[in-house]
Amino acid sequence: MKEPLSREAMATRVGIELEDGFYVNLGIGMPMLVAEHILPGRRVLFQAENGVLGVGPYPSEDAIDPDLGNAGDQDITLVPGACTFDSIISFGMIVGGHLDVTVLGAFQVSAKGDLANWKLPQRTVGSYGGAMDLAVGAKRVIALMQHVTRDGDPRVVTSCSYPLTAPQCVSMIVTDLAVIDVLPEGLLLREVAPGWTAAEVQERTEAPLIVDRVKEWKTI
């Protein structure tokens, strides 16, 4: 039976984009999985916007440092070469354009690369967190999300109906069905999940996809 890709497979695909020596921020939630899928031989330093550069694996129970967490309030460790700092240095790093990549979860991404990831429309109140800063500041924004909602509605849309995090900021979308590049001429369907066709992906996508250059799903 044809299945969408697992979260692990999606994280693995994003991992391929993170080059040796990159400085990267991973958003709260699924993007954090990417940390475990860096290609062998590559060294990537992960930033947490609460003030850490060089986030390491989660600690064992007896190695927890209560003074050390990530932006999702998880206990973390540090890698050699890590440093900690205040929120001003942290967001100077983010908004000043110093991060090579940020990987952010998303509710919707539009054909122009608009990102909506901070508030469900039916909710009165939302949380910006650091998402707007990351979306505007990082050199490259990768959106990582399921291709459709639980109700089957497309998340890659002509125009976002959810409140925006930032307009025209996403350069690549990775979902459980596809890898899509956001180009000036439109959304380029670059890869489809094994077993799926471009037509099937387009069916589940509101925005029109450019499908003349589709390749196989990239693996390690």
């Binding site: 440092d65 309030d73 900690t84 205040d86 967001f91 650091g130």
Partner: protein, 231 residues
């Protein structure tokens, strides 16, 4: 006393905070949060407080944060970037207070919040940032082309009091933070008329290497010793 800013208790340290005061609260969830000062503040039974703080979404793992003020109905307004939990199933104390019309919320992107606090402490009146352009965060704000890029005008934030937490303080209030407990604390220290610090360790003045001081004593007015075991 200028040479010895150590207060006897959290209660004494917050004794002059009054109704309607604006109060910055350091920390990011539980890390770097002055929980004992918050408990002492709640015990004052004040009303109409204005709270400026990174997160107000129910404290994740942190048992004591600004929720205790919100739940006690002491807060008129909150300026923050984390107002609700990610999941709509869990309602935060702030969300409930906003839905009930008891508390006003000013939602600010995290970096803009940090930058506005820094501006307040550094004498900068306002600044242009690209963050928030084309979103709800731009509502009612001036948008201007700065060097070919659209930016929002954002204004400085200051407060009557800052409640912060440090790993170590000397007697005149030179502070050192540890790991990710630093976050908003150093810049909130600069942005308030009166800055009150809960410090896990107190050392004699002169014991901290001058290069390693993270918040100079000039920004700190009162220090309370709250050892980690007690906090």
């Amino acid at each position: 006393m200028a040479h010895d800013k150590i207060e006897k208790s959290c209660e004494e340290a917050v004794a002059d905070i009054g109704d309607g005061a604006s109060v910055m609260v350091g920390g990011f969830s539980g890390r770097g949060t002055p929980s004992n000062l918050l408990l002492a503040l709640r015990a004052r039974g004040l009303k109409d407080l204005i709270i400026i703080r990174n997160d107000a979404s129910g404290g994740w793992k942190n048992p004591i944060d600004i929720d205790i003020l919100l739940e006690a109905g002491q807060v008129k307004k909150v300026v923050t970037c984390f107002a609700v939990f990610g999941s709509p199933k869990k309602i935060s104390a702030l969300e409930q207070a906003v839905l009930d019309g008891r508390t006003e919320l000013e939602l600010v992107p995290q970096g803009t919040l940090a930058e506005r606090i820094r501006a307040g402490g550094a004498g900068i009146g306002a600044f242009y940032t690209p963050v928030g352009v084309g979103t709800l965060a731009a509502e009612g704000k001036e948008v201007r082309d700065i060097g070919g890029r659209e930016m929002l005008l954002e204004h400085a934030l200051t407060a009557d009091f800052s409640l912060i937490k440090a790993h170590r303080s000397d007697r005149i209030g030179n502070l050192v933070y540890r790991r990710s407990t630093c976050n908003f604390n150093p810049h909130m220290a600069m942005a308030a008329k009166t800055t009150i610090c809960e410090a896990e360790n107190i050392v004699e003045t002169g014991e901290i290497d001058p290069d390693l001081v993270m918040t100079p004593s000039i920004f700190v007015h009162r220090v309370v010793h709250v050892p980690r075991s007690a906090s």
